[in-house]
Symmetry: C2
Subunit: 417 residues, 2 copies
């Protein structure tokens, strides 16, 4: 532990926003107000507009002074989805991090808090090392956030439970819609590399039901994760089996499903050329192309010669998954807690850390706690659905249900005739 | 008014389900239990599985006996979205209606309740006239339901307020997501011919703000209705103006937008051939094709020569709009009331009617009441957004805000920095 240093604090939000990312922002501010700001080490609390872009950008409008915001206004901001400071997709390299350090020096920033995923942890790590090399006293803290739930060291990640709640509720309603009119319904869920959010569709069943044959499970009957190699032939056979027995079939499928060679299915099924994102990947979110391609595939594959095509519909759950204004209550509390804990680590003299979220006890007495990890343990790499959460080629396990259920809050009790 | 006749009652649900269609089902059952069933005219209360298909289908599983379902179970069913009896897209012609009448005779059905849109009202009308011609005593009642809000004679239609609530909440969250990361966001909303549901996107603004220039409105900045001729050139110019000023632009657009000749835009922009529905129209719901086509259009149209394409994303709000498990409280109460009122009309000796929903007083003391209309006044034809609800080429009016706001229930108070 280093001694405490005096100066300003800066907070930023990065990557895809979540429904509770502002809880973490307010958590950091609260933690500073009762800690380093109260004891005089932190003079001003600055917000970075659109993450580190606000800091490296010339001009005064890249930073906003949060020092004096009234507590009641902070509560409203905490309850508001999406990054209140604005977010950024910038993924800083060494040269960019030099500019971040220069920005910290220019504004006498000594405490740097960055709310985001593994890229944000890496930014903290690089800047922290650069500051040490330059003998500039800077404490860097990463606050976890991602709906993908793919951060290492964490039991789960703030933002995921609220997105999982949305997906579970959507699948609950959609299962009844599908049962009302019959046919095949494909729901494409966010999460390119990690299947946690798609797996949350299983919560719509009300209870764990892995082990049953697809047609004997409550809907969703079929769940496809990016961690399990996807075969269009097996997919068609699965759908056909369920549809033949029930006259309907509800499917949850990750936007990132890929074949046995690791190649993504999405781009291969798209009707037109896809757009590349900043990382050179074909854009999957914010487009209905994968769902439409799969629907075409099912219509073609399941229509008997000269017969009538089954009713096939595809919904792609878009950005609403991460910004629905009614978050999971557990998620709201935990997102606040990780922010506050970061400020507490700073007050204890920690030089740099990633806050992690651990599970203390499981349902029915679910409890979590914050802890610290080294930035390098969380940075860059990502976590996937462990084997124990996966059941065969098209389902999740009872262990996943036990893991995920306490995170999403109360779900309505629905009843059919 | 005719005298009361004795026999059984049958209830069915038809067309696209809603979040509150089971409230109406339970309303009819409750109304019968305290009315015609209590006084002995109705012996058994039968549910038609998948609407009139259940009645015309041979075999016993097309009808379900609802007479003895406990009240507490009914409450759970009422709170469950989507048609608990199952629904149907069948649109009966004269020959089909003959079979419905035969089914009524076979099961001694003397009271026929059909929950649905204008097609369902028309089915009631035809069957009612056929029964009269055949001197078979049959009382037919239409109970209104549609998320499209397009039934004549009604102030608004049960099912619409809950879908409008979903759209408003989604746009609220999405507006913040769009503000966090910037770029252009297109949201495609259900409602092929009537723009009410798309117009509900305006509630995300928190207050009426028509009259302002697009870039000066709170998001959504642009709203496109099927009632207003849509020009892709004007659309691109609108988007460019907002994006140039704000660096972002949030759009709500009906799936049914059409050009000045009345031709739908959707099919023209689709990347591949569309699927035809039962009415010979290209399928728009359950596909992301229109949104993706518009996104392509904006990317191409707004990218400077040799420059970087703006970030453009499209979400198509699918079936979740009509089955989200948290309905508008006002909608739940009104959907129950129209069902109960239908049973009360029957108990009063009415021979056939469509229940309609009228507004008694506006906010802040919003109240509604049920009344009756002739089936022919509601059957077949449909209602559109009146001129007073429309503001120019890309917005809705303050009058629409006053009309719609009391229907959707409380919306969260969000706050940004």
């Amino acid at each position: 532990m280093a001694d405490l240093v005096s100066g300003n604090a800066a907070i930023g939000q990065s990557g895809g926003p979540t429904a509770v990312i502002n809880q973490s922002l307010v958590g950091v501010i609260e933690g500073l107000r009762t800690g380093l700001a109260a004891s005089g080490q932190v003079e001003r609390i600055l917000g970075m507009r659109h993450g580190v872009r606000g800091l490296v950008k010339a001009g005064a409008d890249g930073l906003i002074d949060l020092t004096g915001i009234p507590a009641d206004r902070l509560e409203h901001i905490a309850a508001t989805p999406s990054a209140a400071l604005g977010s950024t997709r910038d993924k800083p390299d060494e040269a960019y991090c030099e500019k971040i350090l220069a920005g910290c020096k220019a504004h006498d920033i000594r405490y740097f808090f960055y709310i985001g995923g593994n890229d944000s942890a890496d930014t903290c790590r690089i800047v922290s090392e650069m500051a040490a090399a330059a003998a500039y006293e800077l404490r860097c803290f990463h606050v976890p956030k991602t709906i993908d739930n793919d951060l290492l060291e964490n039991d789960h990640t703030p933002g995921f439970p609220s997105a999982a709640r949305y997906v579970a509720l959507a699948l609950m309603g959609d299962a009844l819609d599908n049962a009302s009119l019959g046919g095949i319904k494909i729901n494409v869920v966010m999460g390119r590399n990690a299947g946690f959010l798609t797996a949350a569709a299983s919560l719509a069943r009300g209870q764990a039901s892995a082990g049953a044959a697809p047609a004997d499970r409550p809907a969703p009957h079929l769940i496809y994760l990016p961690e399990v190699p996807f075969s269009t032939d097996a997919f068609l056979a699965d759908v056909e089996t369920v549809y033949a027995k029930l006259g309907r079939c509800q499917i949850a499928l990750s936007e990132g499903v890929r074949d046995a060679t690791g190649e993504e299915i999405g781009p291969k099924l798209m009707r037109g050329p896809g757009e590349m994102d900043a990382h050179g990947n074909v854009q999957l979110s914010g487009s209905g192309a994968l769902g439409d391609g799969l629907a075409d595939l099912v219509k073609t594959g399941l229509t008997p010669k000269g017969g009538k095509a089954p009713r096939v519909r595809a919904d792609t759950f878009g950005y609403i998954q991460r910004c629905w204004p009614h978050p999971s209550p557990v998620d709201s509390l935990e997102a606040r807690a990780v922010g506050r804990y970061a400020a507490e680590l700073a007050a204890k003299g920690d030089a740099s850390a990633s806050v992690i979220l651990l599970r203390v006890s499981d349902a029915p007495d679910y409890r979590s706690a914050c802890a610290r990890a080294d930035l390098s343990a969380v940075a860059r790499r990502s976590r996937h659905m462990p084997a124990e959460f996966i059941a065969g080629a098209n389902d999740v396990s009872a262990a996943f249900h036990a893991y995920c259920r306490p995170l999403v809050g109360e779900l309505p009790k629905l009843e059919r005739l």
